[in-house]
């Protein structure tokens, strides 16, 4: 090997040039992500602002939209449809269910577009791609804050007492956010490989909306036991129950629901990150 002629890889090695591309080891990847916190925050914040500022009323829509939603669903499910499966104090029950579901559905649907809708960014700039689905979840979280304030006010207006159980709200929302983050990561990668997933999402969203006990109590429907167990294990229903448990009287949850919520959140976040990370080098390609 005394020959002066060297292969390209030799030249690179001698000049100390690292090889590009490929994906970093998982922990290093997570480290790189946290190193880009500033970008993540800026992405989420500026998107959140932009999505509202195109309207005349601007940021007021952050509060108006959930109120209108509660009004419409309250009208449809509260007044027009029969009331056999409804718990007492239906309005807080319904509003909490809808708001939690809207946050989750937003994470799922926007997460699915996180990569495919930002190909310009992905093809130009280098950053850990998971930033994009994470930013969409964070953007949804920025909307969830005001929504939860509205929900709390509605609960108080409809006679829900301010009680110690309200302290359960932050941990319930944290678990919900963790779960939704994982779902967003999975959706972001899935739509990249198979665009057809985008076609299915509206149906998945609608199916979850009708099966997650948003405008009825799952245990009052009188489902056969095995079906009811599945319905109660449904993570969306679990998180709705946890938030209801905190805000709505008579909807208390037991420890098993909390454990279920914690389990789903951990499973979703870990599986989501791993699944997304495994295709890291492929995101710019297609």
């Amino acid at each position: 090997m005394t020959d002066a002629v060297s292969s390209p890889s030799e030249i690179a090695r001698r000049a100390g040039l690292p090889r590009l591309g490929g994906r970093p080891p998982f922990l290093q990847y997570v480290g790189a992500l946290s190193g880009r916190r500033a970008l993540l925050l800026e992405l989420a914040r500026s998107r959140f602002r932009a999505s509202n500022e195109v309207n005349r009323l601007g940021m007021a829509w952050v509060v108006i939209r959930p109120l209108l939603n509660a009004g419409v669903y309250g009208l449809v499910f509260g007044l027009l449809l029969p009331a056999g499966t409804r718990p007492d104090n239906f309005v807080p029950f319904l509003v909490v269910g809808i708001f939690v579901f809207q946050f989750f559905a937003g994470c799922l649907n926007d997460g699915a577009k996180a990569i495919t809708g930002n190909l310009g960014l992905v093809r130009t700039l280098h950053f850990p791609r998971a930033l994009l689905p994470l930013a969409t979840t964070l953007q949804q979280l920025l909307g969830l804050g005001p929504m939860m304030v509205v929900a709390a006010v509605i609960c108080l207006v409809f006679g829900e007492p301010l009680a110690l159980r309200w302290l359960g709200l932050p941990p319930a929302l944290a678990l919900l956010a963790a779960f939704s983050t994982g779902v967003g990561l999975v959706a972001a990668r899935a739509t990249l490989h198979i665009r057809d997933v985008t076609q299915l999402l509206p149906f998945i969203t609608r199916l979850l909306f009708y099966t997650s006990g948003i405008f009825y109590a799952v245990d009052r429907v009188g489902l056969p036991r095995p079906v009811e167990v599945v319905a109660l294990l449904n993570p969306v229903h679990v998180y709705i129950s946890l938030v209801r448990g905190a805000l709505v009287d008579g909807q208390a949850v037991d420890g098993s629901t909390w454990l279920l919520g914690l389990g789903w959140a951990l499973l979703s976040v870990i599986a989501g990150f791993l699944f997304f990370w495994r295709a890291e080098e492929r995101y710019g390609r297609e």
Binding site: V5, P8, I11, L17, L20, L39, S51, R123, T124, G284
Partner: protein, 257 residues
């Protein structure tokens, strides 16, 4: 292969910044281009699953770039120029072979949008952060970027309202503001007015002087002659010629006649 021997003395003097080793890049596309087309969900024909087809964008390219070099990349449409740049930027995964580079090469293309719904101002901040600057560095460079782009008061407006030239200028200004060791410019100099082109070329010379390497893809032979010292001629995914601009450009021009 006696040619590398003569250049090996040079290599000991000039420090390599990018080494491309037998690079092959294939794309898998669904027949009918469905995967590449975002609006395709509407245009989807009924019937069976689409079969995928392999497109060979680069078929074995090797070269070494050094500090202070400015390299023009020429070739016909679809010859693989842009894929080569994207591979050097680490944005296209090699099917075979490898790219070694100093720092993180940054690609600057006219077609690559930042976020159109956001104002130019937010895009400057986002772009700077995405290039790896800290928030402090971004606010330090903010005015410089805006001035360089010449976008003026429109910086408050959403980028969607910009003309193609304005958008390209702002993107160039953002990308050129970071300290790059390797900057890849894809057709960006073809847009903008004479004044902006002059400033861009000046900026490229500055980057080179700071021991950087600049790659420039352009159909404008003038721009390449002005700014580049070396040229790569890519033809059907292969490196047809690699040498001084004065030799490669005439040969390339002859072939297009």
């Amino acid at each position: 292969m006696s040619e590398p021997r003569t250049s090996s003395t040079q290599e000991s003097l000039e420090r390599p910044t990018v080494v491309v080793d037998d690079l092959v890049v294939d794309y898998r596309v669904l027949a009918g281009g469905r995967r590449a087309d975002r609006a395709s969900k509407v245009a989807r024909r009924p019937g069976a699953l689409k079969r995928s087809r392999v497109v060979h964008a680069l078929r074995g390219v090797s070269f070494t770039a050094h500090e202070g070099e400015s390299i023009g990349v020429v070739g016909h449409n679809g010859s693989g120029k842009s894929t080569l740049l994207r591979a050097i930027a680490g944005l296209a995964t090699p099917t075979r072979g490898a790219v070694y580079a100093k720092g993180q090469p940054t690609l600057l293309g006219v077609n690559a949008a930042l976020i159109n719904d956001l104002s130019g101002e937010r895009n400057v901040v986002l772009g700077g952060l995405a290039l790896g600057m800290t928030p402090a560095q971004v606010s330090e460079k903010y005015q410089e970027i805006v001035d360089f782009s010449g976008v003026g008061e429109a910086i408050d407006l959403p980028m969607a309202t910009y003309s193609a030239g304005m958008g390209a200028r702002l993107r160039f200004a953002i990308a050129a503001s970071a300290e790059h060791q390797v900057l890849l410019v894809d057709e960006a100099l073809a847009v903008g007015d004479a004044e902006f082109r002059r400033r861009s070329e000046e900026r490229i010379r500055e980057l080179r002087a700071a021991a950087g390497t600049v790659f420039l893809v352009s159909h404008s032979m003038g721009a390449i002659k002005e700014t580049c010292t070396r040229a790569l001629w890519v033809d059907h995914g292969l490196l047809r010629m690699d040498g001084p601009v004065e030799e490669v450009l005439p040969a390339y021009k002859d072939s297009t006649r």
